[in-house]
Symmetry: D2
């Protein structure tokens, strides 16, 4: 099972969003707890889709769900309470039933973390289903013009 698509264009499949580290997300070492980064990736992915005119709810209503099947995070520098983080999210791979996003989290010029999440498309019965052509078009089309460039 491989993608039949042409190579992805990073200029179109990359989006940068921002968020602040919340107090509740820190731990006793005074830094953002390492599990928080998966929540940051997820929030960034939701914004990535919104910039392309899609909400998770749209897909869910059509019976299409996107489940996380693998994650990886490499922690490079601690993020602290109230840090303003920029999350660069890119669709890196688009296959028959799954896709892979990669992420770089930065605070200014400092790389805080890098990671990836692989997601599988499933139906209401949690069976893997093909990513439809309509979904693919949206995923490779790039940000819509007129989309706000700031979070939340």
């Amino acid at each position: 099972v491989t993608s039949t698509l042409a190579p992805l264009d990073p200029a179109k499949t990359t989006t940068v969003t921002t968020l602040r580290v919340r107090f509740a997300e820190t731990d006793l070492m005074g830094i953002a707890h390492h599990a928080s980064y998966l929540v940051y990736f997820e929030a960034a992915r939701v914004e990535w889709l919104r910039r392309r005119g899609v909400t998770y709810a749209d897909w869910a209503h059509k019976g299409i769900h996107v489940a996380v099947v693998e994650v990886n995070v490499r922690y490079k520098a601690p993020a602290r309470f109230d840090d303003l983080l920029a999350i660069e999210t890119a669709l890196a791979e688009l296959r028959a039933v799954s896709m892979r996003f990669v992420y770089v989290i930065r605070r200014g010029d400092t790389i805080v973390a890098e990671g990836m999440t692989r997601l599988g498309c499933i139906d209401d019965e949690q069976k893997l289903v093909h990513i439809t052509d309509a979904m693919r078009e949206v995923l490779v089309a790039g940000e819509q013009t007129g989309t706000p460039t700031a979070s939340p």
Copy 2:
């Protein structure tokens, strides 16, 4: 709308469970984050029900859901990573469509926090529904014999 039940018997409506403060639950002040206590109350409430032979799943399958409608917590002393906490959970009020649980969290003899949660019974359409006689019987009956006294 008031309860038609006789007064509740604390000896029957009280259960003590234990849990440890997780690293992820601490914040940069080195203590369990204050929102974690609502999660502790909830975990204790689930165990309270289990000791009476009920799982949330049982009720959910019958279309009965229990929604939190109010919470209150008074923080008395900080809880730290790896602290073993004892949570005393008591059903304090049982009305037509709602119930109130009260909690005391202790580390040894120290009271760490006190709180209460009020819960309303709702159906699948999120409408308030009466607590059935069958539910009431379970709620006032006390722990079943042979129930393990340790968590989880």
Copy 3:
């Protein structure tokens, strides 16, 4: 122990911030988990201070910490994934060693939740300390002009 201050001016002590419900904050009932609201209150409080030129870090560096000593939340309507919530935060009481914030969370015209948090000022040894005149001035002064009116 009571405040010697004149009554608080709601026009000055109220700030509205916004945030989106994250996927990770939902629970199996499909709504924002009730513990998430304390995290929302906290994030709103941090922004409330920022609009007045203060960061928690500023105070922490001076050895002043603000600890949550009591919380209350009344849940009025469920908040769902991706809902854009407006959080109205107001300083409602300012006493010798503590202060009380009240919150209203709305989605459009719907009130989602109301709540309050009481905070005590403590030093590095976790002893209650008086709120200084310099802190009071900031707390009652109102938003600084030129402060951005949007979150994150």
Copy 4:
């Protein structure tokens, strides 16, 4: 930088602990949110150390901290609210300044998830430091006899 130790003995470096999926850890898909697994791994790792007579606090008091530098999780089957999960935790690699733990989470015979975390030893100034011989002895020694085999 490589380990100078003899190969690790899985019989000694493996520990199984259990925990229940909390309601707060589920998401709107009705399953344990994928970020929760990192919290489960962490809780299991703390128990792994406790079975060997060590608490994080012990090391922290000596100025030795263990920071997560990389994580990986592969999700195999959903975990649901109240599921009793068994987490098999094994020290898989012990190097000069870092160590790697691997995890298998099971519900009965079903593998729910597999993962790994790599941790680096740092001092109070967040500089990488060598794992001392005293630490190594503990890490390879196996569970102490008389250690309770149940969580928490």
